[in-house]
């Protein structure tokens, strides 16, 4: 398994994580259903506003899913940041993961916080409580289909 993501989307996720640090940032990258193409970044509000927890606001969540449904999209990537720990799914992340088809991206801002500097950016599948890390391939642009 591999997550293929374009540079602009990758950079935008990292920028979101840095901007919201020390609160966890979260969002999705939607794409056409069944395509596995991460095409449309949607930054979400972390309703928990917490450095150790994230939850999409429930009203925003409904709007997001209605929009994806109308456009025949699905959440290809679900991302959030860890602000004090490594970019690996926590026990809570694993317990609450309910999109077995999604790439779960974890970004850790623990080293540089809001500042410039590299971050950990890793991707996983989380299915029935089982975590499988996958390669992240950052490309200039997604290939046209």
């Amino acid at each position: 398994m591999v997550l293929t993501i374009d540079q602009a989307t990758y950079d935008a996720i990292v920028a979101h994580a840095k901007r919201d640090h020390p609160v966890e940032a979260c969002g999705v990258v939607a794409g056409a259903a069944g395509s596995d193409r991460a095409e449309r970044l949607v930054e979400m509000v972390n309703a928990a506003g917490s450095p150790t927890f994230y939850e999409f606001d429930s009203t925003d969540l409904l709007q997001l899913y209605k929009q994806m449904d109308a456009d025949d999209e699905e959440p290809v990537v679900i991302y959030h940041s860890h602000t004090a720990t490594e970019a690996y799914p926590s026990r809570t992340d694993i317990g609450l993961a309910q999109e077995p088809g999604a790439h779960y991206v974890l970004v850790s801002t623990r080293e540089h916080g809001n500042n410039e500097g590299p971050v950990e950016f890793r991707s996983y599948r989380i299915v029935d409580g089982e975590v499988t890390e996958e390669e992240v391939a950052v490309v200039a642009q997604l290939s046209s289909n």
Partner: protein, 90 residues
């Protein structure tokens, strides 16, 4: 007339893959019992100890049911119910 219930991907194993099913009930609680009769196992994924699960969101006509009475939220023919798992973690 009936109540349309939108089912999220992860729960479609209980609905034979259907994205939406219909049910009846004058309250959310009654609707869930009605759904359970036709889609056994669904109730347990929505409720925990008789309450809505913390990380399952249910909406009636775009309103989060937590703000309109929870399981007692009244329903009428033609209402649209949406079930969505919370997207959350630590």
């Amino acid at each position: 007339m009936a109540i349309e219930v939108r089912i999220p991907t992860i729960l479609r194993t209980y609905t034979g893959g259907e994205k939406a099913v219909s049910g009846d009930g004058a309250s959310l609680s009654a609707l869930i019992d009605d759904l359970e009769a036709n889609h056994p196992g669904l109730k347990d994924r929505l409720l925990d100890n008789g309450d809505l699960r913390r990380f399952v969101n249910v909406y009636v006509n775009d309103e989060d049911v937590r703000f309109i009475g929870g399981l007692d939220a009244p329903l009428s023919d033609g209402d649209e119910v949406v079930v969505l798992p919370a997207v959350a973690g630590g």
